[in-house]
Subunit: 307 residues, 2 copies
């Protein structure tokens, strides 16, 4: 049976390119493998696929009876439906260890780096398999995306080194310029409905038994969001009414390097505890200086506060 | 803070040598790291440490406030107390993915091979660090132990290749003879109380919300256990009364390559379903031909039956 390779829900550049690359790698290791995605590609992911001429994987949401390779996540809430009725054989990730468990031994490559792409480049090297040019370029952009052009605190030396190596393989001379083009598209908000911005990079988490949703919108200048902020608060409220204890939306200013966090919660004091500040103002929000990474700067303090 | 490197409860050759080796490897990568064990070394582990002149790590059972590297397990039931109050930074394993989760990104090396030692040898190579002679020998014996001299169905080509490489590094000409010496000591049952045999290689699992204990005693000839079998059944019963749905004890005949499984369960039909046979006889047991590996041949069908 072919192995289905899948990233998290709401597939961004890293999740899609990781699925494509790991499927390629497993195929070249002698297994049959197919990349899939759980929903439409985000704007950054679409830019990456188009730039390097890669086909968009088919959408699949049900894991029942399948052999699965998980990339870029290990949380049930972010994975395919019925994962407990599938056989998870591989996990490639760079996040916290989630609540996926298996009855069978498996292969896992998980590193505390800025992007799954960095791990996957090392896997290709470990197995002595050449990285195809298009995949190299896509992995490169995925790393630049996840690390916000190396600015995010999640960025490690391994990520920078991987980008340099991948840029050479892909024949890209000025990777920073290409990365900035991607971030501009990713940060484009003009004419985009609030519900789409809310879902652009949204993930659910289980924190101390409570469902917590955290979305992120990254823009080059927070002022671009001024008009749409009240509508974004309404989207948070809708999600919270739908069975969530708390919904956060990070409005991240890439240039100022910080985030305004919109907070809709049954107990906002937990969020205040997590970030050591006060939620307030017309939008019920707080500014967190230096906060660019959900993974490294938002999820860990939130999990601690909810524990 | 120094990283505490720890294997599963009831530390066997793999758990102890993996803790020693990963602590050595992390130290040489520039971190402070100390191996510990959760209880006294099993006879096979003691033989390995003595043969290669390695110090027995100190016993520690509480993880509170520590930075932790888990080796040879990823299950809470097999780990230190208060692991939720520690920070898990590394996992090196060759089992199924257990229920440990983290709020922080981490480094994981998990492969579907016969022994953590095989993974650790590859880690040394990946990081370009030389394996010390004594640690090479200990890892070699750990692999021979976990794979029952390559006879177990868990054994892979990677395990065989690792043993050959490690034997050279350790300067061991006849690794099979040394491995057999270890298995003789491991399989020695004369004069050993039933409670000690029961605990020799015992692990608790959470299966579909139910606590299930599975122990294993490996001997060169099952006849050696004839007299003590009724006392072993009593030990299973004691453990089951102590809050477990089911307790199994695998009496594995290394030469015949199969196991008699002693069964004490609130619902033995689940065990029968798992192995497709009948539990019966004076000891309430079943013979499972070819069954040598708890990890590969007992835990997966049991988890499926309990799901």
């Amino acid at each position: 049976m072919a192995i289905t390779v899948v990233g998290h829900k709401n597939p961004d550049a890293d999740s899609i390119t990781a699925a494509i690359a790991v499927a390629d790698l497993l195929s070249k290791r002698g297994m049959e493998a197919t990349p899939v995605i759980q929903g439409p590609a985000t704007p950054d992911a679409a830019f990456v696929l188009k730039t390097f001429g890669l086909a968009t994987p088919a959408i699949e949401t049900d894991a029942t009876g399948k052999d699965i390779a998980l990339v870029d996540h290990s949380d049930l809430a972010q994975s395919m439906d019925n994962l407990d009725k599938a056989k998870v054989l591989f996990v490639v990730d760079h996040h916290k260890l989630g609540d996926v468990t298996t009855p069978n031994p498996l292969e896992m490559w998980v590193w505390p780096v800025g992007c799954s792409g960095t791990v996957i480049k090392a896997m290709y090297e470990f197995y002595g398999i050449e990285i195809p040019k298009g995949i190299a370029g896509a992995l490169m952009l995925a790393i630049l995306n996840d690390t916000v052009l190396f600015k995010s605190p999640t960025c490690t030396d391994a990520d920078k080194k991987a980008v340099e190596g991948l840029a050479k393989l892909a024949g890209v001379a000025d990777f920073k310029a290409l990365g900035m083009d991607m971030l501009k598209i990713k940060g484009s908000v003009e004419g985009i409905p609030a519900v789409d911005l809310m879902n652009r990079d949204y993930k659910d988490f289980n924190m101390g038994g409570k469902k917590v949703g955290i979305g992120q919108v990254e823009v080059l200048d927070l002022g671009l969001l001024d008009k749409i902020k009240p509508a974004l608060v309404e989207e948070c409220k809708k999600l919270q009414k739908d069975g969530r204890h708390t919904v956060l939306l990070l409005l991240t200013d890439i240039m100022k390097e910080g985030s305004e966090i919109l907070v809709v919660s049954s107990d906002a004091s937990l969020v205040e505890k997590a970030f050591g500040g006060k939620v307030g103002g017309a939008l019920n929000s707080m500014w967190v200086e230096g906060c660019m990474s959900r993974k490294k700067q938002v999820v860990p303090p939130m999990e601690k506060a909810f524990a």
